[in-house]
Structures are given as structure tokens and as C-alpha cells.
């Protein structure tokens, strides 16, 4: 299983070196993580954890996952240097990890293929998933079609409207899309509804969780399947520049693309890790998704982490122009990376993200997802801070095709 044999991943890539979250610690990242779920779900979570522990050291499983990543998802994805864009970043060197070039157009496919294989190992015939921007829903519907699984996607009614194109894609792929009309009608409520389905249909169903949040074992599993992003990028940057990057940047909603690219760099102490949350209309307006930078420690969706909540623990509705970052919680490993000081998290407003969105399109001919545009905007600021000698790796987690409706309105196109 070496790279010379043409594989992308090795058993070592699943060891999750770095920040804990393995079975022995019951999914704890420092004080974060754990399990806060109805007892009815504990056996299913235990079953998923046990099967994953077997799978991740099973060469046949790893080969099958690797095969799908190469022949179906389109891995390895390239890295692209963007000098014209970087002129606005104080001349720092900016490299984009092109997850937008994967099949279905975002990093979500990596986790989905891994978990779909796991679903088959579990002997289950039905998958459910939540989705915000629709990218995880599309990826899940895609994997379900590929593997012959029944698929139901829960999506907030507000998100269904702003990501209508992705709703159509999921339907075309054979999934049933259920608009969730309670609460804020966004990602948080879609997760609630998916949990309700799961507790009712757990015998036949795997909850194909889409981000590094939720109860143990999801944060660790999703991270391990997304980890390929950083594993590849680290090699590619070394090959291209002969050195590790000075900083790695990613957008953070639930945090899967960010963990995906950051994790392989955690032990590289000289590499700065920067996560960019959705600042929405601005921190001062209260209309944002600044979970790590403005939130407080609490429990949401099954794990202890940072949460946007009021003084009595009621979840505060988040806001972002990007559906994929519009979430009042965040993965517990990010909470741990923040508190341990290993990673730094910042806010990027809707306006800053949309400026970066347009800038990358015009200077490099790449239309990024609005989610990823938060990381791009962050890299522009970081480049000015670090200076022209710096190399910055940015996770371009998805493409912007799905965002054209929002862009048409925003820019009056």
C-alpha cells in the first residue's frame, strides 16, 4: 500500500494522529466531543464505531475506498497557484487545493464515499443525511445511486430555496428531499429531523453524517475520510516548493473541509492553521455564524463544543450568505484546536466573502463556492500580515456553480 503502487491512501492515513478522538478516549477532544444523544441511539453509534474500527485497518476496505477516490471522485485533486489573485494578498504565494474539481464539486464526496462503503459493511440498505448548501446531500445521493442504497435528504426549507439547483440534482439522482419547515429552517433543523428519522428507522438506516460534528464516533470518522485532502496537499506543496506552507486556510461551518486539510499539518508546528467562520452581516449585528469566535461552550447535536446560545442554553439562529456555513455549532475537534491554541479562528463577513468570490473569478477564471470564498478572503488578509515571502495553502473546498442564484442577486448580474 505505498504511493508507488498507485494508491493515494495508506492504513497510516487512518490513524488520525494528532488530536485524539479515538475509541479509547470515547471521542473526547480535551473536554469537547462525547455523546449527548437519546439512549435509543447508543447501540447504533456503538455499531458504527465498532465497524469503523475494523474497516480502517482492513486493507480490502482501504483499497476499495482508494479505488473509488481515484476512479470515481477524481483524486488526487491538483493544487493551483493563483498569482494574479495573490497580488491582492501582499504578494504572498497562494496555492489552492482544488476540491472543487472532485466529482459533485466539493470535498464532501470524500467522506460520503467512505461512509457509503461503511453502510454496506453494516448491512444497511438506507442512508439519510442532512444538508445545508446541498453539497453533502448531492454527494450522499450520488454515492447512494452508485451503491444502490435508498436515500432521504433532510434540508431546511430556507436552504431548499437558496440552493434550488442542488435540490434538483438530488432528485435526479434518485433521492427523496424532505424540506424541514420547523425552527430556523436551515442546517441545524435538518440535523434535528435526520436524528428523528434515525431513531425511528435505525435498524435499516445509516445516518451518513456530513460534518465533523455530532456524537462520537462521527467527528473522528468524518475527519478520517476527509483527511486525504491535507495528506495530498502536504505532499504536493512539498513537491512544488520544497517546503511546507507557512499557513493553511479553510472555511469553517461544521468544519469538515477545514479538518480535512488541517489534520495532516497538526504536528508540523511551524505551519499556522487558520479557520474562517461566517461573519454574516458582521459580529456586531448578531447576524452571523461566528460559533468559535463569538460562541460559548455547550452541547448541540450530540457533542460538547462551542455553540451560539443565549444565557439559558437556547440555540441562537445563525446567519450567513453561504448555506454551508450557516450553522450555530462546530465540530468538537475545532473547539479543541482553538482552546489548545494550535489553530486560530477568524470571522469573514458576507461582503468580504463575496468580494473574494468575484476576485478569484476575474483574476484566475475559477468560480469558488461562497463557503470557500470565506477562506479566500481570509488568505488575502493573512497574506498582507505574513508578507510576500509567505506561502499560503487554501482549501478551495467547492465550486460556485450552485451559488449562481445568490451571485446573480448579490452582484445584479
Amino acid at each position: 500500500m505505498s504511493i508507488s503502487e498507485g494508491t493515494l491512501i495508506t492504513p497510516a492515513d487512518f490513524t488520525g494522529a494528532g488530536s485524539g478522538g479515538d475509541v479509547s478516549e470515547r471521542g473526547k477532544f480535551g473536554v469537547f466531543g462525547g455523546r449527548y444523544v437519546p439512549e435509543a441511539l447508543i447501540p447504533a453509534l456503538d455499531e458504527v464505531a465498532a465497524e469503523y474500527e475494523k474497516a480502517r485497518t482492513d486493507l480490502a476496505f482501504i483499497r476499495e475506498f482508494d479505488h473509488l477516490l481515484r476512479t470515481y471522485a477524481g483524486r488526487p485533486t491538483t493544487i493551483t497557484e493563483v498569482p494574479r489573485f495573490a497580488e491582492q494578498a501582499g504578494g504572498a504565494r497562494i496555492l489552492l487545493k482544488r476540491e472543487d474539481l472532485t466529482h459533485t464539486g466539493a470535498h464532501k464526496i470524500n467522506n460520503v464515499l467512505g461512509q457509503a462503503l461503511l453502510t454496506k459493511r453494516l448491512g444497511k440498505s438506507r442512508v439519510i443525511a442532512e444538508t445545508g448548501a446541498g453539497q453533502h446531500g448531492v454527494a450522499t445521493a450520488t454515492a447512494a445511486a452508485l451503491m444502490g442504497l435508498e436515500c432521504v435528504i433532510y434540508m431546511g426549507a430556507v436552504d431548499c430555496e437558496r440552493q434550488a439547483l442542488n435540490v434538483a440534482r438530488m432528485k435526479l439522482l434518485g433521492a427523496r428531499v424532505v424540506p424541514v419547515t420547523n425552527g430556523s429552517q436551515t442546517l441545524k433543523d435538518a440535523i434535528n429531523e435526520a436524528f428523528r428519522d434515525w431513531v425511528t428507522n435505525v435498524d435499516s438506516t445509516h445516518y451518513l453524517f456530513g460534518t465533523v460534528a455530532g456524537p462520537y464516533p462521527f467527528p473522528g470518522i468524518v475527519r478520517d475520510f476527509a483527511r486525504i485532502i491535507g495528506v495530498e496537499a502536504r505532499r504536493q506543496v512539498l513537491e512544488l516548493t520544497g517546503e511546507l506552507p507557512d499557513a493553511v486556510c479553510a472555511a469553517v461551518g461544521g468544519g469538515s473541509n477545514a479538518i480535512g486539510i488541517m489534520h495532516a499539518f497538526i504536528e508540523d508546528a511551524d505551519v499556522q492553521l487558520h479557520g474562517y467562520e461566517a461573519g454574516g452581516r458582521g459580529a456586531e449585528t448578531g447576524e452571523h455564524a461566528l460559533t468559535l469566535t463569538q460562541g460559548s461552550i455547550g452541547v448541540l447535536h450530540g457533542s460538547r463544543t462551542y455553540v451560539l446560545q443565549d444565557d439559558e442554553g437556547q440555540t441562537i439562529e445563525s446567519h450567513s450568505i453561504s448555506a454551508g456555513l450557516d450553522y450555530p455549532g462546530v465540530g468538537p475537534e475545532h473547539a479543541w484546536l482553538k482552546d489548545s491554541g494550535r489553530a486560530t479562528y477568524h470571522g469573514i463577513t458576507d461582503a468580504e466573502a463575496m468580494d473574494a468570490f468575484a476576485l478569484l473569478a476575474r483574476t484566475e477564471g475559477i468560480i469558488p463556492a461562497i463557503e470557500s470564498s470565506h477562506a479566500l478572503a481570509g488568505a488575502l488578509k493573512l497574506g498582507r500580515d505574513l508578507g510576500p515571502d509567505a506561502t499560503i495553502l487554501v482549501n478551495l473546498s467547492g465550486r460556485g456553480d450552485k451559488d449562481m442564484g445568490t451571485a446573480m442577486k448579490y452582484f445584479n448580474l
Binding site: P38, E39, V202, H301, Q309
Partner: protein
């Protein structure tokens, strides 16, 4: 103050199951919930669970979601929950709070346990607090002298049943089916088996909830459980009533039907 122990003793002496009713605080209004719960007690409920309205009730079906949403829209706060407990406890029922974990976590475990005890509450049911994470809450509850009720489910293994029941004081809450709260056509077939599997581990009574909504169902469950828990069916009566007076009449009627059921 009526404790859970005295409630179950009395029910046992009368050779019947106890009747447990649920209503969220703040629904239909704060005073309306106190009035409705009091009516339920007058018509035969032995125990009342006051729900603490939470923004993300992922174990609840549409009926309780709807009621909780209205309670939050009404601006219900934890102080109101405590006031509701105080009002209902005066009626003579053992009064618990049912809540997701985060509101207690945020309020402070010790402070919550102390305030609940001071309000006359006898304990809590915490559906998303697993035994692995429950240490601080059990300690705080023990210090304040209130009970801790946790749930077992049809999917629970023997090992999990043992772990969960070990943490329960007051009673064990056996979920009758795999699913969210809400009245059903029939009580889950797994319920009797679950109670049977739970008994050998439990030092306290075992009550069954989820899906119970009629006198006949209450009688069916009372045949094998120490207590019958009903929530959504009461809320449904209040939601469907044209006004508060009719709502009170309807919950009273249902409580009487259920009370008759647990005595069959």
C-alpha cells in the same frame, strides 16, 4: 411534598400503576400550563413532568415540537419553569422537570438542582444525557436531594440497561418504541419485553412512555409496568381546544380516562 417513592408505594398498595403526565412549561401560557397540569392531577395524574422548552428538541415529534415552539415564542425562561414546578407541586403531585441537557449545563448543574429542589421539584428526566456524561449531574442532584431519571430503549443491550438503571433514582423511563414522542395507534410491542429485561437490574420502579394516549393503552401498559407516561395526547387536547376553558375540560377528561385505565 410528595416524593416519587411515596407515589409508587401508594400505587402499589392500591394494586395499580402510577399515572405520569407531561406538559411543557409556558404552553399554552405560563399560567395556562400550571392550570392544565393541576387539572391533570385533580383528575388522577400521580406524577407531573414539566418540560423545559428547548430550541432543538431532537427526540420530540411534531406535537411536542409545536407546543415547545409556542412556549419559547411566549418567552418562557427557566425561572418560569421553576415557578411552574412550584405551582404544580402544590397540587400534591410529585413534580419533575424533563429537559435536554444543554439548558442545565448552561444554567449550572448545582444551581439548577438547588433551585429545582427549592421549587418543590423532586427530580429530572434528561433524555439526551448519557451515563458517560452524567457524573456531575448525578452528584449535583444527590446533593440537592432530587432524583435522576434516565431512559432505556428497545434497542438497549443488557449491558446498557445495567449501566443506565444504575444511574436512575426515582424510576427508570422505558421508551416503548424506537422513535420520537407522540401518540400512536398502538403501544410498541417491544415495551413489555423491555420492562422485563429492565426489572432484574432496576432497584426502582419502571415506567413506560412514548406512544400512550388512551385509557385502553394505559391499561395495557399498566399490566406490566409500574407507571404509565403520557405527554403528546394531553398537548393534542390543548392544541385542538377552541379556548382555554375547553382545553382544561379536555385534559381533565383524558386524565380521568387514563386514571381509570391504570386501575383496570
Amino acid at each position: 411534598m410528595t416524593t416519587l417513592a411515596t407515589v409508587f408505594e401508594k400505587a402499589r398498595a392500591e394494586n395499580r400503576a402510577a399515572l405520569v403526565g407531561y406538559l411543557p412549561a409556558g404552553f399554552p401560557t405560563i399560567d395556562g400550563a400550571i392550570a392544565a397540569a393541576t387539572a391533570m392531577v385533580e383528575a388522577g395524574c400521580d406524577v407531573i413532568e414539566i418540560g423545559l422548552p428547548y430550541s432543538d428538541p431532537l427526540m420530540d415529534g411534531p406535537t411536542i415540537q409545536d407546543a415547545v415552539h409556542r412556549a419559547l415564542e411566549n418567552g418562557t425562561r427557566i425561572a418560569d419553569v421553576m415557578r411552574t414546578v412550584e405551582g404544580v407541586a402544590k397540587s400534591g403531585a410529585a413534580t419533575l422537570v424533563m429537559t435536554y441537557w444543554n439548558p442545565i449545563d448552561r444554567y449550572g448543574a448545582e444551581r439548577f438542582a438547588r433551585d429545582l429542589a427549592a421549587a418543590g421539584g423532586v427530580g429530572t428526566i434528561t433524555p439526551d444525557l448519557t451515563p458517560e456524561e452524567a457524573g456531575p449531574w448525578r452528584e449535583a442532584s444527590a446533593s440537592a436531594g432530587i432524583d435522576t431519571v434516565f431512559l432505556v430503549a428497545p434497542s438497549s443491550t443488557e449491558e446498557r440497561i445495567a449501566i443506565v438503571t444504575e444511574c436512575c433514582t426515582g424510576f427508570v423511563y422505558a421508551a416503548s418504541l424506537m422513535g420520537v414522542t407522540g401518540a400512536r395507534e398502538s403501544v410498541g410491542a417491544a415495551a413489555a419485553g423491555l420492562v422485563e429485561r429492565t426489572r432484574p437490574h432496576a432497584k426502582v420502579p419502571v415506567c413506560v412512555g412514548l406512544g400512550v394516549g388512551t385509557g385502553a393503552q394505559a391499561a395495557e401498559v399498566a399490566a406490566y409496568a409500574d407507571g404509565v407516561i403520557v405527554g403528546s395526547a394531553f398537548i393534542r387536547r390543548l392544541l385542538d381546544a377552541p379556548n382555554e376553558r375547553e382545553g382544561l375540560r379536555a385534559v381533565r377528561e383524558l386524565a380521568a380516562e387514563l386514571a381509570e385505565g391504570v386501575r383496570r
